[in-house]
């Protein structure tokens, strides 16, 4: 993939520098000249949105850490102090807490985009797997951060999640005490969770760089799933996609700011405004909304170790996806049968999320089991079988053909 302008500095000083450390050329090749398929739709803007939110979280987080105190006696009060006393503290805290939700909303859209258009398929397997690693790290960051305000939900989320490790025979109990630094969740736990909460986003940053690096080796997928074949299939990243991404970021900000300025606590749980109490479990513990599908899977299984394994399995199965889908066509646009199953799966995932927010009793348990079974059946049975037998519809010869066909100019292009 060549064909777009390369970086040739005219300024002498820039050239002198570039000869010694070609970092400007790298930036130019990656974000200015980078050949990008000309047919990307708005679902492709979520990578940029994600990067934006990573920066938002890191910047607001570093500032919050200037006022927050990781001590069991002070953590809750210092969070209130940020909200009430610190100049613009309310803004920074609500940007950070709602930023996490927006980050997850964007990553779910980004992942489902990948599922729909087959972006996980060769040659993008490593790109996809790094994405799964990013997702897992995001979950770690979200969980650790949620513990810091040291409200009732913080405390009991920390207790329940760390106890997941106690499911493993023999090593379980020592691991949990090692995580806690005690015999229950307490001061040592809070202090180290703060340390880790600071660390994980920096790791995320490293993995995002690897993610983008891998992307720039294999290039973007696109809505047709057809690989880039000639120069006309692509446009330089700047200005075409810098503008499109910026527009999408601004649109997404509207949703974000609606929460931040008008409903900052909508996505949180009121019990987290009650200080942590080690002797009272809230009657109904629920995790943050973005963990709910996995929480439902955990609770669907009447066996402790089984539940924990299935929950981690639900994540692990994503990593092997490139080898479960055998179809030659990437985009589901050309796979009507699989497209149907994709939407059933999407509904199943949302259903699991809803079930995770309900009490673990009666009909909810039965439904959770069915939805969990379907989740795994989708990846382990439906996807391999359908991709083996479904004959994809004819795909356009190239991206350019697809674009022109849409605008009714196909014949002209061929001549």
């Amino acid at each position: 993939m060549s064909g777009h302008a390369s970086f040739e500095p005219t300024n002498k000083i820039v050239k002198w520098f570039e000869d010694r450390l070609p970092v400007l050329g790298l930036a130019h090749a990656s974000f200015v000249a980078f050949p990008t398929p000309r047919n990307l739709n708005y679902w492709w803007t979520f990578g940029g949105i994600l990067f934006f939110f990573l920066l938002v979280q890191i910047i607001t987080g570093i500032i919050l850490a200037m006022h927050y105190v990781p001590h069991e006696a002070l953590a809750f009060d210092s969070t209130e102090h940020i909200l009430r006393d610190v100049n613009y503290g309310w803004l920074l805290r609500y940007l950070h807490s709602n930023g996490a939700s927006m980050f997850f909303l964007a990553v779910y859209i980004h992942i489902f985009r990948g599922l729909y258009y087959g972006s996980f398929k060769g040659p993008r397997e490593i790109l996809w797997i790094i994405g799964v690693v990013i997702y897992v790290l995001m979950m770690a960051a979200g969980f650790l951060g949620y513990v810091l305000p040291w409200g009732q939900m913080s405390f009991w989320a920390a207790t329940v999640i760390t106890n997941l490790f106690s499911a493993f025979p023999i090593v379980g109990e020592p691991i949990v005490q090692w995580l806690w630094g005690g015999f229950s969740v307490g001061q040592p736990t809070l202090n180290r969770f703060f340390s880790f909460h600071y660390l994980v986003p920096l790791l995320l940053y490293v993995f995002v760089i690897l993610h983008v690096w891998a992307l720039h080796v294999v290039g973007n997928n696109n809505p047709t799933g057809v690989s880039v074949k000639k120069d006309q299939d692509t446009l330089p990243f700047h200005p075409y996609y810098t503008i499109k991404d910026s527009y999408a970021i601004v649109a997404f900000l509207l949703i974000y700011f609606w929460f931040v300025f008008f409903n900052p606590n909508q996505l949180g749980h009121p019990d987290n405004y009650i200080p942590a109490d080690a002797l009272v479990t809230p009657p109904h513990i629920v995790p943050e909304w973005y963990f709910l599908p996995f929480y439902a899977i955990l609770r669907a299984v009447p066996d402790k170790l089984g539940g924990v394994l299935l929950m981690f399995g639900a994540l692990a199965v994503l990593a092997v996806l490139p080898w479960l889908d055998r179809s030659k066509a990437r985009s589901l646009t050309y796979r009507p049968l699989m497209k149907g199953f994709f939407w059933i799966f999407a509904v199943d995932a949302v259903l699991l999320g809803w079930l995770g927010s309900q009490p673990a009793e009666g009909i909810f348990v039965t439904l959770s089991r069915l939805a969990t079974a379907y989740y795994f059946a989708h990846f382990l049975i439906i996807l391999p079988l359908v991709s083996k037998f479904e004959v994809p519809r004819p795909r356009p010869a190239s991206i350019m053909d697809a674009v022109l066909e849409k605008s009714g100019d196909a014949d002209e292009a061929k001549s």
Binding site: V160, L164, L179, F183, P188, R299, K304
Partner: protein, 177 residues
Amino acid sequence: MTTNDAVDEKRRDFLYIATGAVAAVGAGLACWPLIDQMNPDATVKALASIEVDLSPVELGQSITVVWRGKPVFVRHRTEEDIKAAEAVDVATLRDPQSDKDRVQKPEWLVMVGICTHLGCIPKGQKVGDDRGDYNGWFCPCHGSHYDTAGRIRKGPAPLNLVVPPYEFLTDEKIKIG
């Protein structure tokens, strides 16, 4: 000065592997302090035992005390509670244990009040709490039911509520820990 071009391959391999092995062990040992610092420290471990006066606890009443940062349930069991617990066929239990093995005096049941599933605190200590299907304790987090001996009967928890080490100092006073 003499030069010797012949290389003793075996000797080289041995030195190579031996050096690598020492380096690996050394690196492993160097990691240990970095890992072990996270384990419970001296102040946490030093948390002493506690003494509990049982005299104010009426028949049928329960109290919760704190030991090592964890709640400990003490229930003054009624005649029916004890009978119900003893009547169970041990072989049918998920974590088989007879009532006798869980108490020192049948009227006093002492256990760590932490659900063995994922660590919530079961309901059943207070009057009016949901005590579950077996009239003992009920964990609302994921629906575990414990009987009047604190044994798991239904739900995802794998084990009975843990009985901590304790002893009777007098008829009405126990020491936990």
